[in-house]
């Protein structure tokens, strides 16, 4: 196991820049998730760590060793691909032992390592099968088995669950997390799914447009998103956002919306009176109570079984609220809606978090 240092990494394809300078340190044994929309550069970064892409500028160190000039085969890392990339003409056992056979390891050593990995992943009965005779989940486990057998310095995962259906994805997520608890391996995991990021990560690296937007624990990103991108990307249903002006209001401060409504703030924020700001509040924090709320008409009701998503119109904007209480309200009726000040997030005109 090893730590990974990524320093000032830039990547361009020809004259088109894709990564604009990424600095990141991944601690030994940590599970870091790179998350972001398609094209943000997360897969490119992962592939640069693996050695499958050239580094345009900057350095990558694995376990203290600079790997810029090392071929993938010499970096001692293992990768799990989105499409599993199992060798179709080899059995499961041969797939998992390929790397060991390349290094001319002894037969008994190989057999032992395969047996251990197979037991860990529940593949004992599948060792002689070909990949095409396996289900999606089984293939993914073989791909992980192939990685585990190597006992590498780090594991790289490139959207491994994207090809699975929703139910299987849930199941495999748990298995990956359990595996990490058991092996304690340094892992870098790329996904576009924020739920996977939140549930699996020790730390999340949110990326967008070739830049790191925020690095922190899942709860950090959830409770204190550093900018509008992270605020809108993490959490489902997505955070409500609307624009207004920060003004002194009564004894304290408030955000005045476009239609003149005042949303009271619990404290002062580090910006000047009259600044344009964006206010954010998560649907699950929108208070639907009977006391002191603004009457908001209901546009749409989406029951999810677990809770209900309500689409409302309030404060001059469309607002989504999520509540666990059983709702009998119908479209067109009014509900009292309040925005608890301690749950508000304020972002300046550039989208950066205020306070």
């Amino acid at each position: 196991m090893a730590s990974i240092d990524i320093a000032a990494i830039h990547k361009s394809y020809g004259s088109i820049p894709v990564l604009h300078g990424v600095d990141l340190t991944i601690r030994d044994g940590e599970f870091v998730v790179l998350v972001g929309p398609s094209g943000c550069g997360k897969s490119t970064l992962l592939r640069m760590i693996a050695g499958l892409e050239e580094i345009s500028a900057g350095e990558i160190h694995i376990g203290g060793v600079c790997v810029n000039d090392l071929q993938p085969k010499d970096r001692d890392i293992a990768m799990v691909f989105q499409s599993y990339a199992l060798y179709p003409h080899m059995s499961v056992a041969d797939n998992m032992s390929y790397s060991l056979r390349l290094r001319r390891a002894a037969k008994e050593v190989i057999a032992g390592k395969i047996a251990t990995a197979a037991t860990t992943l529940g593949l004992e009965n599948l060792l002689q099968r070909r990949p095409r005779a396996l289900s999606g989940g089984q293939r993914q486990r073989v791909a992980m088995g192939r990685a585990i057998v190597r006992a590498p310095k780090a594991f790289l995962f490139d959207e491994p669950l994207s090809n699975l259906d929703a139910r299987l994805r849930e199941q495999m997520r748990g298995e990956i997390k359990r595996l990490h608890l058991r092996l304690g391996a340094t892992s870098i995991y790329v996904t576009h799914d924020q739920i996977e990021a939140m549930t699996l990560a020790d730390r999340i690296v949110a990326m967008n447009a070739g830049l790191v937007q925020q690095v922190g624990s899942p709860l950090d990103l959830y409770a204190r998103p550093a900018n509008l991108f992270v605020a809108g990307f993490i959490g489902s249903p997505a955070m409500n956002m609307f624009e207004g002006t920060y003004r002194a209001h009564g004894a304290g401060f408030a955000v005045i919306t476009k239609d003149g409504a005042a949303i009271p703030l619990g404290r002062a924020y580090p910006c000047e009176d009259g600044t344009s700001v964006t206010v954010g509040i998560r649907p699950e924090h929108v208070a639907i109570s009977s006391a002191g709320g603004v009457a908001a008409p209901v546009d749409l009701v989406e029951p999810t079984g677990f809770g209900t998503i309500l689409h409302l119109r309030a404060f001059g904007t469309d607002l989504k609220a999520f509540t666990l209480e059983r709702q009998t309200v119908r479209v067109g009726e009014n509900l009292p809606v309040a925005l608890p000040p301690e749950r508000l997030h304020l972002f300046d005109a550039q989208g950066i978090r205020l306070g």
Partner: protein
Amino acid sequence: MGRIHDQGPAEVHEEVTTASLTATRRSTPVLRRLAVASEPYLYSAPAVILIAAVMLVPLALGFSYAFRDVKLLDPFSGGFVGLDHFRELMGDKTFFRALKNTVFWAGASVVLQFSFGLILALLLDRPFRGRAIAQALVFLPWAVPSFLSGLNWAWMFNPVIGPIPHWLFALGLADAPDNILSDPHNAMWGPIIANVWWGIPFFAITLLAALQAIPRDLYEAASIDGANAFQRFRSITLPFLAPTIAITILLRTVWIANFADLIVVMTNGGPADRTQIVASYIFTQAFRRLDFGYASAIAVVLLILLMAYALLIVLLRQSLLKRA
């Protein structure tokens, strides 16, 4: 873990032994970059070098021969003669007849091959019992080496040993059971028929592949809309096939125009050079008269004509694309 050194095309292997955490702004070093960048060239080099040596170099050489007197049997030949060959060419009646023959040969061959090939492809498009066998048998002529196809048909046209002259006579299409290949007016048909027999499978296979790529539900939708077989052919099959047809015909025409094997085998360009096409004329000049200079001059003219044809196609495509 041991290190494996496998001698592949791109085997520059660098190892960094010092651990340094100073983040200097550097990228993958030059040597490794060079190794990675040269990989594709190393893989493709053997093929490219061979092609360049065996095809490009002679092309250039041949071009130079057109302006020199190069006769294989004359050890003193090789001198520069400028445009002499071309002047001779301008007055060469055989050459001009060869030009005409090339057009007739290519035109008739392509039209017949395409038509019969299309019909065959349409017949094979729908599954039926015995289709696999029928397909294999019907595509068999393509497996026959072209020279054998030529000889085979030449023998069939020969009244001594073949049935065709007798059948033509019996059907009243000929005055006497003569060898069509000896008839100066109709000799060209011999190689054409052999060419059609041999070439139908190619068109049929290409068109069949294109037909099978048409999504079936389009036909079903059209049926529901009320179209009969002919209307479905016109409004679905033809538009889908059009690009394939266009490309195949254009490329095939060039290829057939230059396909000299059958003519050399069946008539040798005769009787009296009446079935020569430009390509076979080049060959007979080079092979029989061993006059490389003259042969190369004809080749140069052929190349110019081909480039003009290619240019025409490109312009046609541009104008079609503009209209679309």
